[in-house]
Symmetry: C3
Subunit: 158 residues, 3 copies
């Protein structure tokens, strides 16, 4: 930037920044052989997040094998609460990898009960006001005791 | 840039085109805080598409919360029809972002009824004749009144 | 390459290696219009893999349309066996495209029965010891007669 030097005849060569491939996992969760976020090149992947705890010794299943309780002691909360909690967890994971929810380009949402769609949709919209990510949404059965899970992919070139 | 030097014999250097990161959403759907397609660098993501309409005021659920009707007034149609419709919708979304189904590299397919597999598989194959994308397929419950949904990722460097 | 010219004082210019976009599918499965792996730029996508065979003429469904049998003649095996088999199949597919499980950055796991979680989780962990991929896991119904399916995305710049 300081360009007042007199005899600088040759244009300064730009440093030949070599594009370095970067693969780096961030964040851990006890008992799970996973990262919470993973940067790979210009993209950051996340593990799906839901507002749940999980105590393997306390999980209860029904006759079909569906999770009735995962041993968590979380207070009663709405789907909107769970949606915001999941998105905040994703934001935290993304920040470990150098980006935020603003860099999200694609999202997947899963609901245990389709009747929760409108409440989830409204809370979700609070987080994505512009350049909204693509999104796919399905009803599914969770491994954990929660009503919504969300996974995102972010794009943040270094 | 202004290089009015006289004896410019040497071939003009190619403009050093800086690779510009591009993140851009395309397409909207009323009531959904999403884009139908999103370009992020060399990839284009899509939201899952199914052959359905959706009138929030008219959705009917069964006792388990599954969608019985989403208020649409679409005519009766086969799974092959629905598959082709979903892929055409995806192609339209991709075109907004500067690519087509020919650039698809990965796909996900969801069916409401596994018995629809063969009919879907055949119709799907009509659209992907060469360099066929990877694909994953599952039975799932939809938020909407349709029998198949499809989501794709395309690769189209600018 | 022939550089025997005498007065070559100027440092030889590096060959301007043009970054070539590469899209290439690898591997086939009879009856499926898909690739088992697909390289697109620096990433390699896979189709979901499970430890199953599939004979379209022999598939049996229950009243809800769920797959009871897919005609395979595989021996009885544990979820850990199936997990390892799926991951080995994914490794084979990735190798066709020039990478391995070590290059995986994101994974999705689906289980037919949530009670299989711990056994799957332990076997899965054997394959991912460091820089562990992000992972999402759900209960789902399969098109095929197996208890676990896995899909991965790898990052391996050329």
């Amino acid at each position: 930037m300081a360009r007042g030097v007199k005899k600088a005849k040759k244009p300064a060569k730009k440093a030949a920044v070599r594009r370095r491939p970067l693969v780096q996992g961030y964040g851990r969760e006890a008992g799970f052989p996973i990262s919470l976020a993973m940067r790979a090149g210009d993209y950051v992947f996340t593990s799906a997040q839901g507002d749940h705890e999980f105590d393997p010794a306390m999980v209860k299943y029904d006759a079909r094998g569906l999770v009735v309780s995962d041993g968590n002691t979380l207070p009663s909360r709405t789907v909107a609460d769970e949606t915001r909690s999941a998105l905040r967890s994703l934001d935290q994971a993304l920040r470990l990898a150098g980006c935020t929810l603003e860099d999200v380009v694609d999202a997947s949402v899963w609901l245990r009960d389709p009747r929760d769609f409108h409440e989830m949709n409204k809370a979700y919209g609070e987080f994505f006001k512009k350049n909204q990510p693509t999104r796919s949404i399905f009803r599914i059965d969770f491994m954990f005791d929660c009503r919504v899970e969300i996974k995102v992919t972010a794009y943040k070139p270094r």
